[in-house]
Subunit: 317 residues, 2 copies
């Protein structure tokens, strides 16, 4: 498996300082081991204790601290009562936990002046994420990226996922082969009910039904979908569809492919600060392009999209 | 529900002759009833007996014939031992059954000079199809279209699916409300093991896990994905990336977005008659664009893709 990883690790400068997110579970323990063997010399193990499993959670933190010492690398940890935080902030547990981890990473980033954060997500995680996002209403298929950046408290966090194309079974094999110790349930600390059930009930059922591995199929489809979506997000120029007053010029829009029309109107509404943009908002906006349709439609935030003199524009309430 | 359908039916000329695929199951019985009430005056009920459920299959055919008579419309039917056909042609049962239906529709089309075929697929069928295609390795998400054309034995068959946005629960309600008789298992005649298990095991499990309806989410994501894929299939011009000798001009290709690169190379390889094109074939083709990479790569069918003088071209074996 380490061969499979070499391509990915070759893109990462092993001499820079990197944070590694380590829950103590199999995947992150494996990642840390691989990084150390690959010659990463300035690692900082970062562990967040979500306090979701009481004594067990404290045990995970202790275990990860010892693991860091064993590898001779720095250890940075925070303990946060995520359950309480979620209830105070009236957020979902999953969101509160993710934001907490991001905060802790941002603190460690500042302290160590690190280049970024390495995470142990693998191909099976990716397929579960794609499925989860699909069921929650993603526009097309959406998974994790090998690399993404998040701004937290003014600090730009770069996350890298070098194991994203590696199967869980390969990680298991590696962990067994090298006799690595890990904490059995630690990686589920961030796995909440729906995600856990997708992993434990749905994925095995799908594999059984299709009589083949489904993870590679899901991930390949997602890659393709994400690349195509990226084109419409980043490569379609809004400007060429605007008139000198900055309104959408309908004769140009109407001639474009439906996927381009959506991209244009989405970008325009976003620039105009219209909140809660979704596919259905964009689609109902496109319906008024037709001169036989009503000349305006409601937008989220109490504004309207209006059609007048062959232009579309946002009219404030 | 009939309100929801009116939009769709308004696009279909009720005075033309239409074939209606009727298995005798709930969905197609509902469609036939709706069409008759909507004033479609020249319908031909088409039924294919796949002989997969013995006496039951014969009973379905009899039932559909009586239903057609009840509505005062023409009836066209064929009985084909699909199991035997599949084994003779060494094809999967599902494929053999579909090809058989297409053949029968083509015969009926010729006999009645019909405008097309109306089918009873609904939103839940669509979500199952999308999931099934995803698990089999579709490029992005792929479902059925409201309208598609298939060429069979020289005859162009146009299929329309006016119920594609209607939920199964709405169909159930309509069927109950109007006391329509139907054959319990008839619509499963074409539902083979994997598809049936997705319907009966996976979809309810997903709805339970997510604690919300998942069919609308899946279908919305698929619509978006299909529109974007359509752009790359139909709107990206291969010609502008070719040199006067018809080879792919690398400096132009290299500057394009990855999704455009894939579209271009896919189209080029298709035009060159390379068989078994898949995402992985295209991706490995794109890898040789880099001048530091090997200058050729194997293609299916024993050909090579070569890079030479800043061009890519197919070299025959």
């Amino acid at each position: 498996m380490i061969d499979l990883l070499q391509d990915q690790l070759a893109h990462i400068d092993a001499d820079q300082t990197w944070l590694v997110g380590v829950s103590g579970g199999r995947d992150s323990v494996c990642l840390l081991d691989l990084l150390v063997r690959a010659g990463f010399s300035n690692l900082v193990v970062v562990h967040v204790n979500h306090q979701l499993r009481g004594e067990e959670s404290a045990g995970d933190a202790k275990f990860v601290e010892q693991l860091a010492r064993h590898h001779g690398v720095d250890f940075y940890s925070e303990s946060v009562d995520v359950q309480q935080l979620a209830s105070i902030q009236q957020k979902g547990l999953e969101l509160a936990a993710r934001e907490t981890r991001h905060e802790v990473f941002a603190q460690a980033m500042a302290k160590y002046d690190a280049a970024g954060v390495l995470l142990g997500h693998h191909a099976d995680d990716q397929a579960e994420t794609v499925l989860y996002n699909l069921l929650r209403g993603s526009n097309g298929l959406k998974g994790m990226r090998f690399e993404n950046a998040v701004k937290v408290s003014g600090i730009s966090l770069m996350f890298l996922r070098p194991m994203l194309t590696i199967r869980r079974s390969d990680i298991d094999a590696y962990v067994n082969e090298h006799g690595l110790a890990y904490r059995e349930d630690a990686s589920n600390a961030e796995g909440f009910t729906a995600r856990n059930r997708l992993r434990k009930e749905v994925m095995p059922l799908l594999t059984d039904i299709m009589k083949r591995e489904v993870v590679p199929q899901i991930n390949t489809a997602a890659e393709s979908s994400m690349e195509q979506a990226d084109f419409f997000t980043n490569e379609v120029s809004l400007e060429s569809f605007l008139d000198p007053q900055g309104r959408v010029f309908l004769p140009a829009l109407s001639e474009a492919h439906i996927a381009l029309q959506q991209s244009i109107l989405f970008q325009y509404l976003k620039v105009q600060g219209v909140p809660e943009l979704s596919r259905s908002v964009v689609m109902s906006g496109l319906e008024i392009c037709d001169s036989s349709a009503p000349a305006k439609v409601n937008l989220p935030g109490g504004n309207w999209l209006r059609r007048k003199e062959q232009r579309l524009f946002v009219q404030r309430a």
